[in-house]
Amino acid sequence: MLNNLDLTWQKRRGAFNHDWLKNTYIQSLSSWLNLLNDKIEDPHLEQSFVTQKLPEWEAHLAEARSLPHDFVSEMSPKILFNVEPLSNCSQETKSWLPDLIHQLWMARCSVESLVAEAEQAVETAQKAYEVLCAKLKSIPCVTSIKFLLELEPEFQAFYEACVALGKAMEKFPSTVKVT
C-alpha cells in the first residue's frame, strides 16, 4: 500500500461500520432487546431508545448504500496508476494495463459478489427498519414498554439485519493491492 493513496473509502467504512454500526448502534439494539426480554433495567435507555437512538439508522442509510457502490472505483488497484511509481508508466501501458489489473482484481476478489452481498444486506436492514417503523406508528405510546414488547420480533429482525450488514461490510478488503 502506498502512503500517498487517498484512502477515503477505507476511512468512511471504518467510521460507518466500526465506529457507528458495530461499536454503538448494534450494542444499543442488543441492549434494547435485553431490556424488552426483562434481562436488564435501564430507565434512560427505555426513554431514549425509540425516539433518539433507533432513528440514527435513517441518518446513516445513505452512507450504507454508497459504500458498496463506491468500493469498486475507490479501492480497485487501478488507482495505483494515479500515484508514483506506476503513474510514470507510459501512456501506451496505461491505456490497457490498469483495466486489465482491474478486471483481474474484480474476478479474483469476487468483488461483484461482495458488493452484491453488502447491497443486499443494506436493503434487508432498511426493509426491516421500515416494517419496524410502521409497527411503531400503530402503537399508542413509543416510550411504554408494555406496547413496545409486542414489537420484539420486529426489533429482533432489524437487529439481526444490522449484524449481517456489519459482517458484509467487514468482508471488503482493507487495503488496495494487486492480487
Binding site: 466500526h18 465506529d19 458495530k22 454503538t24 435485553n34 436488564i40 434512560h44 467487514e170 482493507s174
Partner: protein
C-alpha cells in the same frame, strides 16, 4: 478492595468504553454492559451515573481507557498509555489486599484512536474520542497487540481475550502467537454467550459453592484446569500432597461436568485395602469367588456407571489390580472377580485418579505400569499446590474452619481471630496441608470453647516451644527443611530437576564449590540420622550402640552390604564434607563412625559399592 463474589471480575481495556465524557458519562459502556450482562464496578463517574441494572450479571467489569487523558475534551490530544495500563492491571493482578481475589480475565481492545479530539471525531466516534492517526486502525499499528505482548511478558499467567469489532481474520495469527486465549466480536449475536463460555474455560474464578476455599492464583488455576477437563470425558490425574484437597478438586470437576443432571461420583480410597479387597472393591465379585465372598458385589466401577469414579492414592495400587484396571480401560468392559466372559458389562465411566506420590519416579522403578499411567491421565494432569505455596489462602481457610468448629459444638462461643494467632498460622509450613490446618483449628476451638478470642497460645503447632532440646550435632541445621515437611524424594526431585540454564552468569561464580559444600553437608546430616536410627540399646549402653553396617544397609537399601563396604562408604561420603576436621571435632557421633570406618578399612576402597539392588 474486590470482595469475593461468585461472579468473576474482568478488566476491560478499551478506549471507547474506558473513557469518561465531559459530562462524566459513557453511554457506549452502558450499552456494552447491557449487551454482555456486565456489572460496572469501575467506580468512576461513568459507572456512578449509569442507570443500567443487569439482573443476572455474568461478570463484574472494571474499565480502563488505556490512554491519557481518560476524560478528554475537544482540543485535547489523546495518547496511548502503556505504563499506566500496566499499573492498572498490576493493581488487580498482583497488588492485592489479603483475601482479595486476582482479576479473573482481561478483555482487550485492538484499535485505540490517538491524536486530537475534534468536533468531527466526537460526532463520529463518541464524546472525548480522538480522530485517530494513520495506522491506528490497521493491524500493524494496533496498540492492543502491543499491549497484549507487554501484558503477557509482564504477567505470563494473565488470561487475556481480545474484544474487538475489527475483523478477526486479519489479526488471528498475531493475537494467537502473542498468547491471547480467544476473540470476542463486539457485534456478534453469539458473543454474549461466548463470553460466558470463555469465563468458564479461561477465567480464574473461585469456587462459588464455598466447598473449596481460597483465591490464590495457584488454586484458581487448578480449578480452571478442572473446569476445562470437565468439558471432555477423558480420564484425569490429580497430583498433590496429602491433605491438599485432591478429593475436593475431583468433586468440583464432577459438579462442573454435570451441574444439572444427577450423575454418580464414587470415591474409592484404596490406601489401606489388601490387594484382594482392592480388586473386589473396584471390579466387584461373584458370590463364592474367594473366601468371604458371601454375596455378589457390583464394585465401584459399576456403581459409577454413567458418571465418575475417584481413585485416591493410585501409587499404592497392587500390580494385579493395575493389570485388571488396564484391561477395563482398554476394552471398557468390567468382569467381576470370579466371573466369566458372560458376566462382562460395558461401562461408560470417567476415571479421576489422585496421588501424592512422585508417580513418575514410581513409574521408572516399574512399580506402576506406564501404559496404565498414560490411560489414567489422557485428559491431563491437575497439579494442586501445597498450602505452604498458597499461604494467602490461610486467612480464608482459618475463618471457615473456626466457624465450622464453633458450629460443631453447641456450647462454643463465636470468636475473633487475633493477629498473633494468624501470624503464627501464616508462618507455619503445614506439611499436612489443609487437613492439618483444619485439625489444628478444630483442636483450638474444642480446647477453648468458652472464649471470644482465638489467640496464638490456643494453637498447638510443632516447634512452638514444646520440642525436646536438640543434641548439639556440630552440623548447622539452620534453614534445614525437615523430612516431615518435604519428602526426600520430593527434595531430591527438586534438586535433580533444577534448571541452571536460566541463571545469570554472575550466579555461576563459585557455584561448584557451593554445590559441593551443600552436598557434603547433606551427606553428613543423612549419615548422622541413619547412625542414630540404627542404634541398638544394650544394658551397658542404654542410648544404643552405633552400628555402621546397619546404618549403611539402611541408606543404600542393600541388605547384603558388608562391614568393610559400609566403612568405605562412610569414609568416602564424609570426604566430600568441606571442613571434615572441624566436623569430626565437633560431632561425636560422626567422629565415632569415622574412626570405626578407618579402623576397619585403613586404606581406600577398591571400587564403588553404593547400590540399591541388594
Amino acid at each position: 478492595m474486590i470482595p469475593i463474589y461468585s461472579t468473576p471480575h474482568i478488566l476491560v481495556i478499551d478506549d471507547l468504553f474506558g473513557r469518561v465524557d465531559e459530562n462524566g458519562r459513557n453511554e457506549e459502556r452502558e450499552r456494552l454492559c447491557g449487551n454482555f450482562f456486565l456489572n460496572d464496578l469501575t467506580g468512576d463517574t461513568a459507572a456512578k451515573s449509569s442507570t443500567l441494572r443487569v439482573k443476572q450479571p455474568v461478570a463484574n467489569a472494571i474499565f480502563c481507557r488505556g490512554q491519557q487523558p481518560v476524560r478528554a475534551r475537544s482540543g485535547d490530544t489523546v495518547e496511548n498509555d502503556l505504563e499506566g495500563t500496566l499499573n492498572f492491571v498490576r493493581r488487580y493482578w498482583i497488588g492485592l489486599q489479603p483475601g482479595e481475589a486476582p482479576c479473573s480475565m482481561v478483555l482487550l481492545d485492538l484499535c485505540f484512536y490517538t491524536g486530537g479530539v475534534t468536533h468531527e471525531s466526537e460526532s463520529q466516534k463518541g464524546k472525548g474520542m480522538a480522530e485517530g492517526r494513520p495506522g491506528d486502525d490497521l493491524p500493524p499499528g494496533y496498540f492492543g497487540l502491543r499491549l497484549l505482548e507487554t501484558l503477557l511478558n509482564t504477567f505470563p499467567d494473565l488470561p487475556v481475550i481480545i474484544l474487538s469489532s475489527m475483523p478477526r481474520a486479519e489479526v488471528s495469527r498475531e493475537f494467537s502467537g502473542l498468547g491471547a486465549l480467544g476473540f470476542l466480536e463486539r457485534d456478534s449475536i453469539e458473543s454474549p454467550k461466548l463470553l460466558q463460555d470463555y469465563i468458564q474455560r479461561h477465567a480464574l474464578i473461585a469456587d462459588a459453592s464455598g466447598e473449596i476455599i481460597g483465591c490464590s492464583r495457584s488454586l484458581l488455576k487448578a480449578l480452571r484446569a478442572a473446569r476445562r477437563a470437565s468439558l471432555t470425558k477423558k480420564n484425569l490425574l490429580i497430583r498433590g500432597e496429602r491433605g491438599a484437597g485432591k478429593e475436593l478438586i475431583a468433586k468440583y470437576l464432577h459438579r462442573q461436568a454435570s451441574p444439572t443432571v444427577e450423575r454418580p461420583l464414587v470415591v474409592l480410597d484404596s490406601g489401606t485395602l489388601s490387594p484382594e479387597l482392592y480388586a473386589s472393591a473396584l471390579f466387584g465379585h461373584r458370590k463364592g469367588s474367594f473366601t468371604g465372598a458371601f454375596e455378589h458385589r457390583r464394585g465401584a466401577i459399576m456403581e459409577a456407571e454413567g458418571g465418575d469414579i475417584f481413585l485416591d492414592e493410585i501409587g499404592n495400587m497392587p500390580p494385579a489390580v493395575q493389570n485388571g484396571l488396564l484391561r477395563i480401560l482398554e476394552f471398557r468392559q468390567v468382569i467381576p472377580l470370579g466371573g466369566s466372559a458372560g458376566d462382562a458389562r460395558t461401562i461408560e465411566v470417567r476415571f479421576i485418579s489422585a496421588t501424592n506420590a512422585d508417580i513418575d519416579a514410581v513409574n521408572t522403578t516399574g512399580m506402576f505400569r506406564e501404559d496404565l499411567y498414560d490411560r489414567l491421565r489422557e485428559g491431563g494432569t491437575i497439579f494442586l499446590a501445597p498450602l505452604r505455596e498458597r499461604k494467602e489462602d490461610i486467612p480464608l481457610l482459618v475463618e471457615k474452619f473456626v466457624r465450622q468448629a464453633e458450629a460443631s459444638r453447641k456450647d462454643s462461643m463465636a470468636r475473633v481471630i487475633e493477629p498473633d494467632a494468624m501470624e503464627m498460622l501464616m508462618a507455619y509450613e503445614w506439611p499436612g496441608n489443609i487437613r492439618e490446618l483444619r485439625n489444628c483449628i478444630f483442636n483450638a476451638v474444642t480446647s477453648f470453647p468458652d472464649v471470644e478470642h482465638l489467640v496464638a497460645t490456643h494453637l498447638n503447632l510443632p516447634g512452638q516451644g514444646k520440642q525436646s532440646p536438640r543434641e548439639d550435632t556440630g552440623i548447622s541445621t539452620a534453614g534445614v527443611v525437615s523430612a516431615a515437611k518435604k519428602s526426600l524424594t520430593e527434595s531430591l526431585g527438586i534438586l535433580g530437576n533444577f534448571s541452571f540454564e536460566t541463571l545469570p552468569a554472575a550466579e555461576l561464580v563459585g557455584a561448584l564449590n557451593r554445590l559441593s559444600e551443600v552436598c557434603g553437608e547433606a551427606f553428613a546430616r543423612l549419615l548422622r540420622v541413619a547412625l542414630l536410627a540404627t542404634r541398638k540399646p544394650t544394658v551397658e549402653n542404654p542410648e544404643g550402640e552405633m552400628r555402621i553396617q546397619s546404618a549403611m544397609k539402611l541408606l543404600t537399601g542393600n541388605p547384603g552390604l558388608s562391614a568393610s563396604q559400609a566403612a568405605d562408604i562412610i569414609k568416602r561420603t564424609l570426604k566430600v564434607y568441606p571442613r571434615l576436621e572441624t566436623l569430626l571435632e565437633e560431632d561425636p557421633i560422626l567422629r565415632a563412625a569415622h574412626e570405626k570406618s578407618v579402623k576397619l578399612r585403613p586404606k581406600g576402597p577398591q571400587k564403588p559399592v553404593i547400590r540399591g539392588d541388594g
